[in-house]
């Protein structure tokens, strides 16, 4: 038994898919969280107590005391759903005094004041910040740094921003 292909049904299906696509793009744009260069994410700021900063950002997906490295005490907070790459959209780090010293943004749902997000092109990044960016060659990524301390690093691979790091030092 063969199913008749109704042109109206087909156009309805196409329009539904289109609507979902447009709606998802629009919702992503509307839901973008602000990244403040050299300061923080949303209303969370560098130097703030980690629990307060985490509450200001939203629901913490995962948090742990990371004791794997060099005997240093680091508290790590992950926000959002784990991505297919294994990263979280936003990571926040607190030191042994529970002060936030770094935010790492790995997702395009966060956008800087100048409109740069993960996935933006290198040219757009240079246009947005101009001479204020300092370029560093690297073995895998190119790093563009804005400011000294606090600073914001934009990691670029294949001419696309892959991570934005807001750090205290």
């Amino acid at each position: 038994m063969t199913r008749a292909r109704n042109p109206r049904t087909r156009s309805l299906a196409v329009s539904t898919v289109t609507f979902i696509l447009v709606a998802s793009v629009a919702s992503t744009a509307l839901a973008a969280v602000r990244v403040y260069e050299g300061k923080g994410v949303a209303s969370a700021r560098l130097g703030m107590r980690d629990s307060v900063a985490a509450a200001r950002i939203g629901k913490v997906t995962k948090s742990f005391r990371d004791r794997s490295y060099a005997g240093r005490v680091v508290y790590k907070y992950c926000f959002g759903r784990k991505m297919s790459s294994g990263r979280y959209p936003l990571e926040m780090y607190g030191d042994k005094t529970r002060k936030v010293f770094q935010f790492t943004v790995n997702s395009g749902s966060y956008v800087t004041v100048k409109g740069i997000r993960v996935g933006s092109g290198k040219d757009a990044l240079k246009r947005a910040y101009g001479d204020a960016l300092v370029e560093h060659e690297g073995s895998v990524y190119k790093r563009y740094t804005l400011g000294r301390a606090p600073a914001t690093d934009f990691y670029v691979k294949s001419d696309k921003v892959t991570s934005i790091v807001v750090r205290a030092r």
Binding site: S15, T18, R72, V74, Y155, R167, A168
Partner: protein, 261 residues
């Protein structure tokens, strides 16, 4: 009532299709071939043989590089490119078959790079001679003889060097600015199987204290976060890809001196 709903659905579908057509337009524009492709395809192929190049300094090079280029055929110019595309140095010649070219004034890209040397004449351009070089900035702390591991934080790369010749190099992640990787001379400990954030294995770095080498809390290790390689992401350790750290453990003997700078 049903007719009204149907009319609304049809109106919505038409609107969505118009939107789809509008959004789809740029992809059709991009489908045309970019300019210059045809020109590149018709460019004449190099005919002349590659020149011979001898490097005085080996493959680990300082910022100032000098080397000698010679060719079996006379040429009007020799062009040196670093890092792939852009010519960094052009020397005009008067038909000699042998030249000594000094790149003293050339700012070579930092880290590993490909140097390409071609000769040109009215008959065309030679096949490029490609050389793999490692610009490590300064070579004074690299021993002329013996084995050494150099961790170059600026290039975010680790080099396995024997007699000032790079046997292999791997990209690494280093410490965050708030938890930097320490600099200095260390000794490499034996590989230990590990897991989690350490990756497949880790090798401790030993620091000299008096006459003894004592363990530090820093390691060269693998990772469970491969995307972090090439970033300032660790808490002071040197991270490598798991496949690279296995190779590192296999090829670099225990006790090798490690210079981190």
């Amino acid at each position: 009532m049903i007719q009204t709903a149907r009319a609304a659905v049809i109106a919505w579908a038409v609107g969505a299709l118009v939107t789809a057509a509008f959004l789809g337009a740029p992809s059709r524009v991009c489908a045309t071939a970019p300019e210059g492709v045809e020109a590149a395809a018709t460019e004449p192929q190099p005919q002349r043989p590659a020149p011979r190049v001898s490097l005085a300094s080996g493959r680990v090079v300082p910022r100032r590089l000098s080397f000698e280029v010679s060719a079996s055929e006379p040429a009007s110019s020799v062009v040196i490119s670093a890092g792939g595309e852009t010519p960094v140095h052009t020397v005009e010649l008067s038909g000699e078959a042998s030249w000594s070219v000094a790149l003293d004034s050339i700012d070579l890209p930092y880290g590993p790079l490909w140097l390409a040397v071609v000769t040109r004449d009215a008959s065309g351009t030679s096949v490029p001679r490609r050389l793999r070089l490692y610009n490590v900035g300064t070579v004074s702390d690299m021993p002329v003889s013996g084995r050494r591991v150099l961790v170059d934080k600026r290039a975010m790369r680790v080099y396995h060097v024997l007699n000032r010749r790079v046997l292999r190099s791997w990209p690494v992640a280093i410490g965050m600015p708030s938890a930097p990787t320490p600099t200095g001379t260390f000794r490499l400990g034996a590989p230990q199987p590990s897991g989690g954030a350490w990756g497949v294995l880790r090798r401790p770095l030993l620091k000299k204290s008096g006459s003894r080498w004592v363990r530090t809390s820093y390691y060269i290790h693998g990772t469970n976060e491969p995307w972090s390689i090439g970033m300032m992401a660790s808490h002071g350790c040197v991270r490598m890809f798991n496949s690279h750290v296995r190779e590192f453990a296999r090829t670099v003997p225990n006790g090798t001196l490690v210079r981190i700078r």
